[in-house]
C-alpha cells in the first residue's frame, strides 16, 4: 500500500505533501505508486479531482473525518478526507500494491499508459492472505479506522504547528518536526 498525504488550504493550495509506503506487514515505508516515476503528477490530479467530492461530502456529514470518499478506478486509488475547522483539508490517497498479474493488461494499454494500468487489482486484493490487515483492503472497516487514527494524530500535530507564532494562515508548512510527526503517525497506523 502506498500513501500520498496532502494538506490543502481552503483555497486548494497545498500546504504540505508527503508520500510514504506502508510499514505494516513487512513494508519498508517507501511509496510505490502504480504510475511510472515520470507520472507522479497523477497523485495530484487524483487528489485535486476528489475535491469535487469533498466539497459535496462536507455538507452531508457532521463529522470531521469523512471516511473514504472517492475512488479513481483505473489506478485503484482511494481517497480519504478529514476536515479541520479552519477549512484546511487533509486528503490521503491510498493505493494497494499492484498485483503482478496486471502487467499483461498494462502492456496492452501501450501508449495510453497514464490512465493507469488496471483496476482489476481492487477485486483481486481480497484474495490476499491477510484480508484484515490495513494493506489488503482499502475499503474495509479496519482501514477506515486506521486512517481515522492517522488523521486524528496528524490533526493534533497540525494544530500545534499552526499555532506557532511564526506561522501565518495559508503558509506552506515547512517544519521538519511536523514532517517527522506525520511520518511517525504513518508508520504507526498505516
Amino acid at each position: 500500500m502506498s500513501y500520498y498525504f496532502t494538506i490543502l488550504s481552503p483555497t486548494d493550495v497545498p500546504l504540505f505533501n508527503i508520500a510514504f509506503g506502508t510499514s505494516k506487514s513487512g513494508g519498508d515505508g517507501i511509496a510505490r505508486f502504480r504510475f511510472p516515476d515520470t507520472a507522479q503528477y497523477m497523485n495530484q490530479f487524483i487528489i485535486h479531482s476528489s475535491l469535487d467530492v469533498v466539497e459535496e461530502a462536507q455538507w452531508m456529514n457532521g463529522n470531521m473525518y469523512l471516511k473514504h470518499i472517492d475512488t479513481y478506478p483505473p489506478a485503484s486509488a482511494y481517497i480519504s478526507a478529514f476536515l479541520t475547522p479552519s477549512g484546511a483539508r487533509f486528503l490521503l490517497l491510498h493505493q494497494p500494491p499492484q498485483l503482478p498479474t496486471n502487467n499483461v493488461s498494462s502492456a496492452t494499454a501501450g501508449s495510453g499508459s497514464i490512465l493507469g494500468s488496471s483496476f482489476s487489482g481492487s477485486g483481486g486484493s481480497s484474495s490476499r492472505a491477510s484480508a484484515s490487515s490495513v494493506a489488503a483492503n482499502p475499503t474495509s472497516p479496519q482501514t477506515e479506522e486506521a486512517v481515522r487514527q492517522f488523521m486524528t494524530e496528524v490533526y493534533e500535530n497540525y494544530v500545534k504547528t499552526v499555532m506557532s507564532p511564526f506561522y501565518r494562515q495559508g503558509m506552506e508548512i515547512k517544519s521538519s518536526v511536523f514532517r517527522g510527526k506525520v511520518t511517525a503517525a504513518g508508520r504507526k497506523w498505516l
Binding site: 490543502l8 481552503p10 483555497t11 486548494d12 493550495v13 497545498p14 507522479q40 503528477y41 497523485n43 495530484q44 490530479f45 487524483i46 487528489i47 485535486h48 479531482s49 476528489s50 475535491l51 469535487d52 467530492v53 466539497e55 459535496e56 462536507q58 455538507w59 478506478p73 483505473p74 476536515l83 479541520t84 475547522p85 479552519s86 477549512g87 484546511a88 483539508r89 493488461s105 496492452t108 494499454a109 501501450g110 501508449s111 495510453g112 497514464i114 490512465l115 493507469g116 488496471s118 483496476f119 482489476s120 494562515q169 495559508g170
Partner: protein, 741 residues
C-alpha cells in the same frame, strides 16, 4: 477568496467563491468570446467532415492549437466540434440536448430488420440504374428513416407517434448470415471499428479539410462526430446471432419486376426459397416472418396497364401485403433535370465501411455517387412508408400481443411468480444459487450448438421482448427480459443470459417513466455488471461487452444526476478491460470527461458538480491524443479542459499544485509544437517561448493576425514589402518577425 481563519466555522466554506470563474475565463482570453461564437454544427455528420469550404488562407499559417494562443481556432476545431462550445452561458445547459441526441441514436440503432429478396430480373432492372447491389441497394438508404410519423400502439393500447422510426433492409439473396461467418468476423470486428475511426481521422485531420459551418451559438454541439461514428459503428457490428433477435428479419420483401414472364410462379419460387429452400433462415431464427410482395414496374419500357393487371392478380393471391413500385429504368445522372442524390446509408457495419463500397468520407460532390430521379425517390419513399406503417408495424404489434397472451402470461402466472420469489430469496442476480433453487435446466437449450430452437418458449419470449423493444415499448420489454433472465441462467445459456441482463437494464433506462431512484440505479448497475461479466468472461465476446458498457455509459449519462457517476465508472471499466483500442482510449477519456461535466451543481449551491474530474479527464484525453499523433484533437481536448477548470481554478487559471501545473504546461507546449509540425511549419519560434503560453502569446498572435489580414487584403499597403513577398510569408509563420517589425 475566503479567509477561514478569522472566524471558526464548524464547516469550512467551499474553496472557491462565486463570480470568479466566468470573469476569470474572460479576462484570460480576451478574444475568446469573439472567436468561439461561430460554433460548429452539431449535426456535422461523419460524412461531412472531409468536405468543406476552404478555410481562409491565413488559417494555415497563423493559428496555433491552444485557444489562448490562437486567434483563429476554427480550422483545428473542425475535427472535434463539440469543443467549440462557446463560453457564453452556463456550460451545462447544452448537455441535455446532446445526451438526448445520443439516446435517440441508440434507440434508432435497434430498428427492425427487413430482408430483401428480389428476382434476377428485378436486380437486373435496378443494375441498369447504376446500383450494382441490386434492388436491396436501391431501397436500403430509404429504410433508415421512414418519412412522416409512425404510430405505434404499445401493449396497454396507448398510441404514440415516432418521427424517427426506421427499418434496416438486409440482403437475403446474398449470403445468409450464419453463425459461422459471424464468429469469424467477430474477433476482428472491434479492430474494424478502430480501423474505421482511423480512416475517419485520417480524412478529418487533413489540415485544409476541416469543415465548419457557422451556427447559432446557443445550441452547443456536445458530442464529437468522431464519437458518433464510433457509437454507430459499434451498434451496427453485430450480425444475426442466436442470442438476440434484433438482426433477425421481421419481414421480408419479395420483389419481382414487370419484365418477368412468369410473375406468379417466380413469386412462389422466391417464397419457397426463403421458406424451405436454400435461403432458409438458420434454425435459431423464427421462420414465420411477414412476407411482403412487391412488383417493380419499369416506367420507361413496360405498359402500366399490364402491370396493374398483374398487381391486382397479386393482391388476390397474397392479400394485402403487396405494393406496386413504379420506377424508371434508365440511369439518372447529375445533369438530369430532376436528379437527386441518393442519401447515404447511416448504419453500415464496419466491414462495409472499410470495404468502401460507398465512400462516405470523400468529397460529396464528386465520384462514386448515385443519383435518382425525383419521381423514383418519391415512389420508393411511399413504398417504404406503406411497408412499415401498414404491414411491418401492425405485424409486430400483433405478434407481441399474441405471444404476450400465449407464452408470457402463462409464465407470469403461478409458476412465474414462484420463480420470481425464489429469485428474490436467492439474492439479486446471483445466478448460481438461483439455478439450485429453481430446479434443473429446461432442456430446451441446445448445449452443443449453443442456441435455443426458434419455437421454444425461451426463444419466443426473447423475440417478443425484442419486438417490444424495437416498437419502443420498454416497459413490456423490460419485464419480459426480467422474466427470461432466470431461465437462461438455469440453462447456462450464458450469451442469452448476458443479452437478457443487458437489454433489461437498457430498457429500464430507456423507459422515460421510470424514475432514477438510487435503488433502481443500483439494480441497473448490477444488471450491467452481470451482463458484462457473462459476455466477457463466459463467452469472451468482446464486441458485445463493449456495446453493453457503452450503452450503460450513455444511457446512465442521459439520466443525469447521480447516475453520471456510474456512467463514468462504466466508461473507465471499458477502457480498463482493454476493450477499446488506442483511438477508443481517447474517445472514452473524452466521454468520461463529458459524463462528469454533465453533473450539475446542487441548485443554488456551488458544490455538487464534478468539474475538476471532468477537467482531469479532458487533460488525459489530450495526452492520449498527443501520443496518437493527433495534435488537433489534443488541442481541442485541452481547450475543453481549460473551460472545465475555469470554474474551480484561481483567476489566473493556474493549478494550485505544482506538478499538475508542470504537466499541463508541458502538455500544452508539446501539443503546440506537434500541431505546428504536423502542418509542416517551423517551430523554432515557438520553442523559445516554451513557458510563455499565457497572455503575451495571445497578444502576439493577435498582432500577427492583423498583419496577415492586411497583407492579404492589400499587399501594397505594407510600405516596403512588395506584393511578391506576400505568398511566401504566408507559407511560413516563423518568418513573421521581420514583417511585424
Amino acid at each position: 477568496m475566503t479567509s477561514p481563519g478569522d472566524a471558526a466555522p464548524v464547516k469550512p466554506p467551499p474553496s472557491f467563491s462565486p463570480g470568479v470563474p466566468r470573469v476569470a475565463s474572460k479576462t484570460r482570453y480576451p478574444n475568446q468570446r469573439r472567436d468561439s461564437s461561430p460554433a460548429l454544427d452539431a449535426d456535422l455528420g461523419d460524412s461531412r467532415i472531409g468536405s468543406s469550404p476552404t478555410p481562409p488562407l491565413s488559417a494555415t499559417t497563423s493559428d496555433l492549437p491552444i485557444r489562448s494562443a490562437s486567434p483563429h481556432p476554427q480550422s483545428f476545431r473542425s475535427s472535434t466540434p463539440q469543443l467549440a462550445r462557446s463560453s457564453l452561458g452556463s456550460p451545462v445547459d447544452g448537455r441535455f440536448e446532446g445526451s438526448e441526441e445520443i439516446r435517440l441514436l441508440i434507440i434508432r440503432s435497434f430498428s427492425p430488420v427487413v430482408g430483401v429478396y428480389a428476382s434476377a430480373d428485378t436486380d437486373e432492372l435496378v443494375r441498369q440504374k447504376g446500383f450494382a447491389g441490386g434492388f436491396w441497394e436501391l431501397i436500403r438508404p430509404f429504410g433508415e428513416n421512414v418519412p412522416g410519423k409512425i404510430v405505434i400502439r404499445d401493449s396497454v393500447g396507448a398510441s404514440r407517434g415516432w418521427e424517427d422510426f426506421g427499418v434496416r433492409f438486409v440482403d437475403l439473396a446474398g449470403k445468409t448470415p450464419t453463425q459461422n461467418d459471424s464468429s469469424a468476423g467477430r474477433s476482428s470486428s472491434l479492430a474494424q471499428v478502430e480501423d474505421v475511426l482511423e480512416k475517419q481521422l485520417g480524412s478529418a485531420d487533413d489540415p485544409l479539410g476541416g469543415s465548419m459551418r457557422p451556427k447559432d451559438f446557443l445550441s452547443f454541439p456536445t458530442t464529437s462526430p468522431l464519437y458518433k461514428v464510433f457509437l454507430r459503428q459499434l451498434l451496427s457490428i453485430s450480425p444475426a446471432t442466436p442470442h438476440e433477435t434484433f438482426r433477425h428479419p421481421v419481414a421480408s420483401v419479395i420483389a419481382i419486376s414487370s419484365r418477368n414472364t412468369a410473375p406468379l410462379e417466380t413469386l412462389r419460387q422466391l417464397y419457397a426459397d426463403t421458406n424451405n429452400g436454400n435461403k432458409r433462415v438458420p434454425e435459431w431464427v423464427h421462420p414465420e416472418y411477414l412476407r411482403y410482395y412487391v412488383l417493380v414496374h419499369d416506367e420507361d419500357r413496360d405498359d402500366i396497364a399490364e402491370s396493374t393487371k398483374l398487381y391486382d392478380q397479386m393482391k388476390r393471391h397474397f392479400g394485402l401485403h403487396c405494393h406496386l413500385l413504379r420506377v424508371r429504368s434508365t440511369q439518372c445522372v447529375v445533369t438530369d433535370d430532376d436528379s437527386a442524390q441518393v442519401p447515404e446509408c447511416e448504419w453500415q457495419s464496419p466491414a462495409e465501411r472499410l470495404s468502401g463500397r460507398s465512400e462516405p468520407l470523400v468529397d460529396l460532390d464528386t465520384n462514386g455517387l448515385l443519383y435518382l430521379f425525383e419521381s423514383d425517390i418519391m415512389a420508393i419513399k411511399a413504398f417504404v412508408r406503406e411497408l412499415v406503417a401498414q404491414s411491418v408495424i401492425p405485424y409486430m404489434e400483433n405478434r407481441v400481443a399474441v405471444w404476450n397472451d400465449q407464452v408470457a402470461s402463462r409464465r407470469r402466472g403461478i409458476s412465474g411468480r414462484f420463480m420470481s420469489m425464489s429469485r428474490r430469496w436467492a439474492g439479486f442476480g446471483s445466478s448460481s444459487r438461483s439455478s439450485l433453487t429453481a430446479g434443473g435446466a429446461s432442456g430446451n437449450y441446445d448445449l452443443t450448438h449453443g442456441y435455443y430452437k426458434a419455437d421454444t418458449p425461451e426463444a419466443i419470449l426473447r423475440k417478443m421482448a425484442d419486438f417490444a423493444f424495437m416498437l419502443r415499448d420498454w416497459k413490456l420489454s423490460a419485464s419480459t427480459y426480467e422474466l427470461l433472465r432466470a431461465d437462461y441462467a438455469n440453462d447456462k445459456a450464458w450469451r442469452y443470459h448476458a443479452g437478457a441482463y443487458e437489454m433489461c437494464a437498457v430498457s429500464m433506462l430507456l423507459n422515460p417513466s421510470i424514475m432514477a431512484t438510487k435503488m433502481k440505479l443500483d439494480g441497473v448497475d448490477q444488471m450491467f455488471d452481470t451482463a458484462c461479466y457473462s459476455y466477457l468472461t463466459r463467452c469472451s465476446d468482446a464486441p458485445n461487452a463493449l456495446r453493453c458498457l457503452t450503452l450503460a455509459m450513455e444511457l446512465l449519462k442521459s439520466r443525469g444526476g447521480s447516475a453520471v457517476e456510474s456512467a463514468a465508472r462504466w466508461a473507465m471499466r471499458a477502457m480498463d478491460l482493454g476493450l477499446v483500442g488506442s483511438i477508443g482510449q481517447g474517445l472514452f477519456s473524452e466521454r468520461v470527461s463529458a459524463c462528469y461535466a454533465a453533473r450539475s451543481p446542487v441548485s443554488g449551491m456551488k458544490w455538487g458538480s464534478r468539474r475538476r474530474k471532468a477537467g482531469m479527464w479532458s487533460v488525459f484525453a489530450a495526452d492520449v491524443w498527443l501520443r496518437l499523433g493527433k495534435p488537433s484533437l489534443a488541442s481541442a481536448s485541452l481547450e475543453e479542459a481549460e473551460r472545465l477548470y475555469a470554474d474551480v481554478l484561481e483567476s489566473d487559471g493556474s493549478f494550485p499544485m505544482p506538478e499538475m501545473q508542470t504537466f499541463v504546461d508541458n502538455l500544452r507546449h508539446a501539443v503546440k509544437v506537434e500541431y505546428l509540425e504536423a502542418r509542416g511549419l517551423d517551430t523554432r519560434d515557438e520553442t523559445t517561448t516554451a513557458e510563455a503560453l499565457g497572455t503575451e502569446e495571445t497578444s502576439e498572435q493577435l498582432d500577427r493576425r492583423k498583419h496577415r489580414k492586411s497583407l492579404i487584403a492589400n499587399p501594397l499597403d505594407l510600405g516596403g514589402v512588395g506584393p511578391s513577398q506576400g505568398p511566401r510569408d504566408n507559407d511560413n509563420a516563423a518568418n513573421d518577425d521581420f514583417e511585424r517589425a
